[in-house]
C-alpha cells in the first residue's frame, strides 16, 4: 500500500496525569474523507489534537511520509494541516475579513491567495456580506462557516474538523456537511471529521473509525458501518 497522506500508529496522548488515548492507529489517504466517531470522552477530539500538536502525545504520526509527532502546532499548520477545533476558534475580536486573512498567514503566493479568497467566499456568500463585521457578532452557524473558510485559506492538504455540528441547527449543519462533501469530491481535499452525529458523518465519509475509551473499537467503510445494525446500536446510538 502506498504511504497514505496521514498515518497514525499506536498514538497515545495525555492531559497531565490522565491518559486519553491508549494507542490509536488510523490513516487517511489522499483525497479521502474519513470519520472518527464515538461517544463523549472516547478520545475523538484528542485524536485531532494529537495530529495538530495541541496535546502531549507519543507514537508515530506521519504526514506525507514525514513525521510530525514532535512538531509544534504552528509547524503542523505550515505543513498543510488545517485544524478547525471544537468551539471553532474564531478570533471574535477581529473582523471576518481579518480572520480570513489570518488563515492565509503561512502563504506567500499573493495571486493565488486572492484567487482562494474569491473561491472561499463563493462557497460562503454570507461571509462576504459581513466582511467587516466583528466575528463575535456572527451567529453560531456563521462562525462555523468562518472557521471552515479560514481553514481553507491555508490551502491545506488535510482538513481536520472537530464536531462541526455542535450547537447548530439541523439546516445549518446539513449545509456545512454539503460544503465539506463538495470540497472533498470536487477539489480532492482530504478530510478527517470528528462527529457525535454519526449518521451525518457516515453520509459524508468513505471510511470511519469508532473510538471507545481511547482505543479504536471498530473500523471499516462508512457504507458497511451504516448497514451494520449491531455496530449502530452499540456504538453509534441509532
Amino acid at each position: 500500500m502506498a504511504e497514505p497522506l496521514l498515518r497514525l500508529e499506536d498514538v497515545t496522548a495525555r492531559y497531565g496525569p490522565v491518559t486519553a488515548l491508549h494507542g490509536i492507529s488510523l490513516h487517511v489517504g489522499e483525497g479521502e474523507a474519513v470519520a472518527v466517531l464515538g461517544a463523549n470522552g472516547a478520545g475523538k477530539t484528542t485524536t485531532l489534537r494529537s495530529i495538530s500538536g495541541t496535546v502531549r502525545r507519543a507514537g508515530t504520526i506521519a504526514f506525507g511520509g514525514k513525521s510530525i509527532a514532535r512538531r509544534s502546532p504552528e509547524a503542523v499548520a505550515r505543513a498543510g494541516i488545517a485544524h478547525v477545533p471544537e468551539g471553532r476558534g474564531t478570533l471574535t475580536e477581529l473582523s471576518v475579513h481579518d480572520n480570513l486573512r489570518l488563515g492565509a498567514y503561512t502563504r506567500r503566493d499573493r495571486k493565488a491567495m486572492a484567487e482562494d479568497e474569491r473561491r472561499v467566499l463563493a462557497h460562503f456568500p454570507m461571509l462576504r456580506e459581513r466582511a467587516s463585521q466583528r466575528a463575535g457578532t456572527l451567529s453560531g452557524g456563521e462562525q462555523q462557516m468562518l472557521a471552515l473558510a479560514r481553514a481553507l485559506m491555508l490551502r491545506p492538504r488535510l482538513l481536520l474538523l472537530d464536531e462541526p455540528s455542535l450547537g447548530l441547527a439541523p439546516m445549518v449543519v446539513a449545509e456545512i456537511f454539503r460544503i465539506v462533501r463538495e470540497l472533498n469530491e470536487r477539489e480532492g481535499l482530504a478530510v478527517l471529521v470528528v462527529e457525535q452525529n454519526a449518521a451525518l458523518a457516515l453520509e459524508a465519509s468513505s471510511r470511519a473509525y469508532v473510538l471507545e475509551v481511547g482505543r479504536v473499537a471498530v473500523e471499516g467503510s462508512s457504507a458497511d458501518l451504516r448497514r451494520d445494525e449491531a455496530v449502530r446500536r452499540s456504538y453509534l446510538g441509532y
Binding site: 502546532p73 505550515r78 477545533p85 476558534g89 477581529l94 481579518d98 498567514y105 491555508l154
Partner: protein
Amino acid sequence: MLLALDWTQLAQQIVIGLASGGVWATLAVALVLIYRSTGVINFAQGEMAMFSTFIAWSLVHHGLSYWGAFALTVVISFAGGIAVERTVIRPVERAPVLTVVIVTLGLFFLVNGAARWIWSPETRSLPNAFSTRPIDVAGVAFSIQDLGTIAVALAAVGLLWLFYRFTKLGLASRAAALNPEASRLVGVRVSWMLALGWGLAAAMGAVSGMLTAPALASFDQNLMQPVLLYAFAGAVLGGIDSPLGAVAGSLLLGVLINLLGTYVDWIGGELRLPVALAVILGVLLVRPAGLFGRPVERRV
C-alpha cells in the same frame, strides 16, 4: 465668570498639558502592548526607556545629530526589547501572572543598576529636539518644543497603528495576543509574536525617553520613573486593553494635571499625582473598564 477666563492662557496650558500627555502616551502604549500580549504591566518599561535615552546620549556624545541618534536608538531599543523577552520573559511564559510581574520588578532594578554602572550617576543633558523659540498661532504664543513633542508622539503612535492595522505581521501579532491557541492553528509563531510586542514596546519607550530628556535641563537615571507612573495612570484611565484608549487617557491626564496645577491653588507640586490618581479612581468606580475600554464580560 466664563468671560473673565483668560483664553490665551487656557490654550497655552492645554497645549503644555498635551505635550506632557503625549510623552506619557507613547510610554502608555508600550505598557498596553505588553499588557495585551503578556498579561502584565511591565514595571521596567520606564527604566528600559531610560536606558535607551542614555544610549541616545552616548550616540550624540560621539558626534551624531539628535535625530540621527533618535532613529538609531529606536532600532537598537527594538532589538533590545526582543532580547529581553527571549531571555527573561520566555522562561516564565507559563508561570502565574504575579510571577511575571515580579520578574518585571527585578528587571526594574537590573536595568536601573546597569544604567548607573555603565554611565555613572552624574547628570547629563540631551540637546533640544526642536528650537526653543515660541511660535505664533492665531495670536497665541506656543512653544515649538511642545508642538513638536505632540507631533512626534502622535506620529510614533500612528505608525504603530498602521503596522497593526495593515500588515500581515501586525494582524498575526494582534491575533496571538487575543487567542494564542487559535493563532497557532493557522501557523502563527505565538512565542515570537510576544517577542515582537516587547520589541515594539521598547521602541515606543525609547521615543518616550528621548522626548522627555531634552525638555529637562539635565537628567539622570531616575528620569523615567515619574513618567511611568503617569503613563500607567493614563493607560488605566483610557482603558488598559486599548492602545487608542491609552493615548486618549494620557493626553487627557496631561491636560487635567496641568490645568489643575495652574488653576487650583492648594494642589502644589507634591499633590499633582495623588490628585490625578484620585480622579482616575473616581472614573474607574463609575466605569470600571476605563473611559474607552470594553467592559469585561464575566463568563459564568
